[in-house]
């Protein structure tokens, strides 16, 4: 069983997203240790891209800060490889397809495996287009976590679930990351539909979860939850490095407290 799937055993894992290299890799390293210590179950680390189509303003800004700080995919993977022994929880990389295509799909799968990466999410790569990278990831035993949305046809949810491993990423509502103004009134029936197609695969719910209350609600219907923009906003509110780490710690703990 994959390390990611195992994280869903006997608990509802909290998956948190940060942009790699925001604002530099040293801080990313510190933040990884902080999140791990605070109780995060799975780390999702974004590969900053100049044109992140599926992301709202918070992650766009985080990507820009990281790019300004000189981050590259090569540097990010190298850093994760250096600290892999310090990380006890699974790491997922989230990146847009151009970053991976440019890096070289085979090389990416190889280097990610060597860095101890357990899973990958590519939000702009539907399964109809991903034959080559999918094969490479399978060979490297890296989970490919795919996304479904409320408007995905049931037959397509099945096709996506059949091609996913680790967990199935269910987007809570139509839209982009960080949009917490939207509530999906049909969340329960949507996730029921997803569950019917997902079989044994755990369901992670993300997009717009920004408080313990929303986390609790989300966890009622899903097997785990994903938080990105809200965490980044909390981190950014800190004026010093120490304050940023503390903000992350208290926010993560407040979410963990409701995920029982």
């Amino acid at each position: 069983m994959s390390r990611i799937k195992e994280s869903f055993k006997n608990k509802k894992p909290l998956i948190t997203y940060i942009s790699g290299g925001d604002p530099d890799l040293d801080f990313t390293e510190k933040m990884i240790y902080q999140l791990q210590d605070s109780g995060v179950d799975i780390l999702e680390i974004g590969i900053p891209f100049s044109d992140p189509l599926a992301d709202g303003p918070t992650i766009q800004a985080a990507s820009q800060r990281a790019i300004r700080g000189g981050i590259t995919l090569e540097k990010l993977i190298k850093k994760l490889a250096e600290i892999r022994d310090e990380i006890e929880i699974p790491v997922i990389l989230m990146g847009y397809y151009n970053s991976i295509l440019n890096f070289g799909e085979k090389r990416f799968a190889h280097d990610a495996k060597a860095a101890g990466i357990s899973g990958i999410i590519i939000p702009d790569l539907p399964f109809d287009e991903d034959e080559t990278i999918s094969e490479q990831l399978k060979e490297a035993a890296i989970d490919q976590i795919r996304l479904v949305t409320p408007n995905t046809a049931t037959s397509r949810i099945k096709a996506i679930a059949d091609r996913s491993s680790g967990f199935l990423y269910s987007i809570a509502h139509l839209g982009i990351t960080g949009d917490s103004s939207r509530e999906n009134p049909a969340l329960k029936s949507y996730l029921t539909r997803v569950r019917e197609q997902a079989g044994e695969l755990p369901i992670g719910l993300g997009f717009g979860i920004d408080s313990p209350e929303k986390a609790k609600k989300a966890a009622r219907h899903a097997d785990g939850i994903i938080i990105g923009s809200a965490l980044i906003e909390k981190i950014q509110a800190g004026q010093t490095e120490e304050a940023r780490l503390n903000n992350a710690d208290s926010f993560v703990k407040s979410i963990k407290a409701v995920l029982v």
């Binding site: 044109d51 189509l53 766009q60 939000p123 702009d124 995905t152």
Partner: protein, 396 residues
């Protein structure tokens, strides 16, 4: 027959949320493009609303100036709204109505596509919002007023390079959020399938008319066709009906901006590498890490770091030659056509006109060149005014 790929280029690299909308669009488009009532309605709008067919004008004074081949201009500048963009927006608005969408969004660079979208949205009574980079809003103020007058909202985009690339990002994000009520009218032969094929089909009327007109005038096909390439819709529109006519040389001209060597240009096919942006695999200006490099050109409509996938294919099979023209050369051509022929071209189209300087001296008087005059230059007058002022300052 649908075309998801042009050899290895094209595809649908989009968030999953958009897949149902793209499926619906593909299916609707495939159905109605064969539908006689749609074809009749579209044709009637092109004729009576936009003013097609546009003339193929023999540019006698320009021909005299170069003392070489006969030069013809395909007068897309005479379309309603002043550019070829209306051919596509009329087609897509009919599709949007067919799909029962209530709202239209679009991206725009120079503002021509924004104006053409706002125009058809007004005509067909649909809500309309246009995303436009803050820098382009500055450069193309006249078109912003026009869009607003037509009842569209113009949404400034302050992210990234504040130009067309970022306006497209925001439009896609809007579409992801409002996909059920909204149709996104992409303005060029870019984006995910079916857009490159569909926009080409709506634009190929340019080449179809040109073919008939040149045969009427000359009794033979032209030797060369020139068109500027940003995303590439006017170029594909005029090239496509000639692709199988191997004796017709097709040349697409990109923007070299401040010069290829400065790195501040938009010459995607000459200087880019294959990548994925805005939903399709095509040539792309990107750095070593795969980050998209903002494009630069004096013409906001060519200021795009990507290019339509069919252009990448036509380059790969060596059917179309792609070259580039810089800002200064384009400005000279802008002046030349205005002064010699009394036609003020768009700065975008001026790139194609400027290529005559390189091509015409090599050709003989019995040869013909058709230049696609994709739009008129009213929108660029402010830009031109600034150039004149800068020149005056230099002289003082």
């Amino acid at each position: 027959m649908t075309q998801k790929y042009f050899s290895e280029y094209g595809g649908r690299y989009v968030p999953e949320t958009l897949i149902p909308a793209l499926d619906e669009l593909s299916q609707t488009y495939q159905t109605i493009k064969e539908d006689n009532s749609f074809k009749e309605e579209y044709k009637a709008l092109l004729a009576d609303y936009s003013g097609r067919p546009t003339p193929l004008y023999y540019a006698e004074k320009l021909t005299e100036y170069y003392q070489g081949p006969e030069i013809y201009l395909k007068r897309e500048d005479l379309n309603h709204t002043g550019a070829h963009k209306i051919n596509n927006t009329l087609g897509q608005i009919l599709l949007a109505k067919k799909m029962g969408k209530e709202r239209i969004i679009a991206e725009t660079g120079a503002g021509q596509h924004g104006v053409a979208t706002a125009t058809v949205a007004a005509r067909f009574d649909l809500d309309c919002e246009i995303y436009m980079g803050a820098e382009d809003i500055e450069r193309q103020a006249l078109n912003v007023y026009k869009m607003e007058m037509l009842g569209a909202g113009v949404i400034p985009v302050n992210t990234g390079s504040k130009t067309l690339k970022d306006a497209t990002n925001q439009a896609i994000r809007d579409w992801v959020s409002n996909v059920e009520s909204t149709h996104y009218i992409i303005g060029s032969v870019v984006g995910p399938y079916p857009y490159p094929e569909m926009v080409r089909d709506f634009q190929k009327i340019i080449g179809e008319e040109t073919k008939k007109q040149i045969i009427n005038k000359k009794g033979k096909l032209p030797d060369y066709i020139l068109a500027c390439v940003g995303g590439g819709s006017n170029a594909i529109g005029i090239f496509h009906p000639f692709v199988d006519d191997q004796d017709v040389n097709l040349i697409g001209i990109e923007a070299a901006g401040e010069g290829i060597d400065t790195g501040r240009h938009a010459a995607t096919l000459s200087e880019g590498r294959v990548g994925v942006l805005h939903g399709s695999r095509s040539y792309l200006l990107q750095d070593q890490d795969g980050q998209v490099i903002p494009a630069h050109s004096i013409s906001a409509g060519l200021d795009y770091p990507g290019v339509g996938p069919e252009h990448s294919h036509l380059k790969a099979i060596n059917r179309v030659r792609y070259d580039y023209i810089d800002d200064q050369e384009a400005i000279q051509a802008f002046r030349l056509l205005s002064e010699r022929e009394g036609i003020i071209p768009a700065l975008e189209s001026s790139h194609a006109l400027a290529y005559l300087e390189k091509l015409a001296p090599k050709l003989s008087q019995d040869q013909t060149i058709v230049v696609n005059l994709s739009g008129r230059g009213d929108k660029d007058i402010n830009n031109f005014k600034k150039i004149r002022e800068a020149e005056a300052d230099e002289q003082n």
